[in-house]
C-alpha cells in the first residue's frame, strides 16, 4: 500500500481522520519504554511491536500504521493497559485503529472485515448470534474454498457433540433492525 493511497482514503473520510487524531491524543504521553511490547502475548506474531506502532501513530506515519497487521493481532488481553507506566488506554486505542482500518475498507484486512460484517448482520437479524449460520455466511462472503476447508476438523468435532445448529435463515426486517437503524441516525 502506497502512502498516497492511504492518505487519499483518509482525506475522504473526515470522521476517520478525527478518530485517528483521537488515538494520537490518547497515546500522546507515551515514553517509548516498551512495556507494552514486552507484555504482549502476540508480539511475536506482529510485523511491528506495539511500541513502534504508537511511535508511528505519534509521527503521523499512517502508511506504516495501516500497512501493518499489528493492531489486528491485538487479542484484547489488557496486559499492556494494566502495566503501562503512563496509564494509557492502549487496548482501547488498538480497537480504535481496527475501527479506522475497517472504515477505510482496505484490501489487506478483507477477511477480518468480512467476518465482523457477517457477525454484525447476524446480530441485527436474530438478536443473538447463531454461530453456525455466522460461519456459513462468512465462508460465502470470503469466496475462497480454502477458508472453510481449514475449519473442517473443528466442524466435525462440533457436529459430533451436537453443537452445530443449522437453522433455516429467516428473512424479514431483522430482530434488532429498528435499534441498529436508530443508532445509525443518532451517530450522524
Amino acid at each position: 500500500m502506497h502512502l498516497t493511497d492511504i492518505r487519499e482514503k483518509l482525506a475522504a473520510r473526515p470522521d476517520l481522520t478525527r478518530q485517528l487524531a483521537q488515538v494520537k491524543e490518547q497515546v500522546a504521553t507515551c515514553i517509548q519504554c516498551g512495556t507494552c511490547s514486552s507484555s504482549c502475548p502476540n508480539a511475536g506474531f506482529m510485523d511491528m511491536t506495539p511500541r513502534r506502532m504508537w511511535r508511528a501513530v505519534l509521527m503521523d506515519r499512517v502508511d506504516m500504521v495501516f500497512s501493518s497487521q499489528t493492531f489486528m493481532l491485538c487479542a484484547s488481553c489488557y496486559v499492556c493497559t494494566l502495566r503501562c507506566p503512563r496509564g494509557l488506554p492502549l487496548t482501547g486505542a488498538m480497537a480504535e485503529l481496527k475501527q479506522v482500518a475497517f472504515g477505510l475498507d482496505l484490501d489487506r484486512f478483507r477477511r477480518s472485515t468480512l467476518f465482523y460484517k457477517a457477525f454484525m448482520d447476524n446480530i441485527r437479524q436474530y438478536g443473538r448470534v447463531r454461530e453456525t449460520e455466522l460461519m456459513a455466511r462468512y465462508f460465502l462472503a470470503v469466496k475462497d474454498p480454502r477458508v472453510p476447508m481449514s475449519y473442517t476438523g473443528m466442524g466435525i468435532k462440533l457436529m459430533a457433540k451436537h453443537k452445530l445448529h443449522p437453522h433455516l435463515p429467516s428473512r424479514g426486517p431483522g430482530r434488532l433492525a429498528p435499534l441498529f437503524d436508530r443508532a445509525k441516525q443518532q451517530e450522524r
Binding site: 506474531f45 489488557y78 436508530r182
Partner: protein
C-alpha cells in the same frame, strides 16, 4: 442468593455445557438464577471493532432489561467477554450523562431505558465472594481428593476492571478447588492470554499460545476455565490430550451431581480422567 442471569450467545451454542452446568450448580448450591427475559447479544468482539456506538447500545439494551425486572438483583455473567462488554457499558453510561441520553433515545425504539444502576458480576466473582466456598466444602466431602487442577482464568474477567482478584497473579479459584479436596497446580499461566478471537481468524496464533499454556499444565489432571472462548481455544489447539472443563462442571461433579446433569458429554476434550474420579 438470587441473581439475574445473562448467559450470552455462546452458551446457547458451542458452550452449551457451560450454561447447563452453571444452572445446575447454582441449583445444587441453593441459589436461584433468573434469566433476563428477551436478552440479546452484547456485541461480542465485533461491535467494538466496527461500530463504537453500537458497542454501547447493544450491552445497554440488556442492562435496561435487567433494570426493568425491578428486582435490584446483581447480573451474573459466565462469559468473560460478555461480562466485560456489559460492565464497560455500565461504567461508561454511569459516568457519562450525555452518552446515556443518546443511548436512551435509541433504546426508546424498543420501549426501554437504561440508568446504569445494575451491578454486573462475573461468575467467578459470585462464586468466590458470596459464600459458595464454604458450601462447596460442606457438600463435596473431599470427593476430588488426589486430583491436581490447573486454574485458568484468561483475561477479561481479571482485566481491565480489577474487581475480585489480582489481575496478574489470580488466586480466587484456589479456595474453590481446595474446597473439593483437589490440589491446585502451582503455575504462572493462569492469567496468560489464549489468543481469544484472534485464534478464530489466525489459527497459528492460537496454536502457539495454547501450546505454551498447556505445556505448563502437564502435571495437572485437568484445566478448569471460566470463559467459553478460553475453553474453545484450549480444547481446539491440543497437541496432546489435556482434559479441560468449565469450573461449574468441576464443582458440580465435586458436589456429587451426575456427569449428565453437568453437560459432561459435550466437552471437546477427553475429560474421562476427571469423570473416573466421580464414577460410582
Amino acid at each position: 442468593m438470587d441473581y439475574l442471569y445473562y448467559p450470552g450467545c455462546s452458551l446457547e451454542g458451542t458452550a452449551k455445557e457451560y450454561d447447563i452446568s452453571c444452572r445446575a450448580l447454582f441449583e445444587a448450591l441453593g441459589d436461584r438464577l433468573t434469566e433476563i427475559p428477551d436478552w440479546t447479544c452484547c456485541g461480542a468482539t465485533a461491535a467494538q471493532c466496527v461500530d463504537p456506538f453500537l458497542s454501547v447500545v447493544l450491552p445497554a439494551r440488556n442492562l435496561a432489561l435487567a433494570e426493568k425486572t425491578d428486582t435490584g438483583l446483581d447480573v451474573l455473567v459466565p462469559c468473560s467477554a460478555c461480562y466485560l462488554n456489559l460492565k464497560k457499558a455500565r461504567q461508561d453510561l454511569w459516568e457519562n450523562n450525555a452518552l446515556r441520553a443518546q443511548v436512551n433515545q435509541v433504546l426508546a425504539e424498543d420501549g426501554l431505558a437504561v440508568n446504569a444502576s445494575v451491578r454486573v458480576r462475573h461468575l467467578l466473582d459470585v462464586l468466590t465472594r458470596d459464600g459458595a466456598v464454604d458450601r462447596v466444602a460442606q457438600l463435596s466431602e473431599n470427593r476430588m481428593k488426589g486430583l491436581v487442577i490447573a486454574p485458568y482464568y484468561g483475561c477479561q474477567c481479571l482485566r481491565p476492571y480489577v474487581e475480585f482478584d489480582d489481575p496478574e497473579q489470580p488466586r480466587s479459584m484456589d479456595a474453590l478447588i481446595r474446597a473439593t479436596g483437589a490440589d491446585v497446580l502451582a503455575w504462572d499461566m493462569g492469567a496468560v492470554c489464549c489468543g481469544a478471537s484472534t485464534a478464530t481468524t489466525k489459527p497459528q496464533v492460537g496454536k502457539e499460545l495454547v501450546g505454551r499454556i498447556l505445556d505448563q499444565a502437564k502435571t495437572a489432571h485437568a484445566v478448569v476455565t471460566v470463559c467459553p472462548m478460553c475453553q474453545m481455544n484450549l480444547e481446539r489447539f491440543q497437541s496432546r490430550s489435556v482434559p479441560v472443563v468449565y469450573l461449574p462442571q468441576f464443582l458440580g461433579l465435586a458436589l456429587g451431581e451426575s456427569p449428565e446433569s453437568m453437560g459432561c458429554g459435550m466437552n471437546l476434550s477427553d475429560i474421562r480422567p476427571v469423570l473416573s474420579r466421580v464414577a460410582p
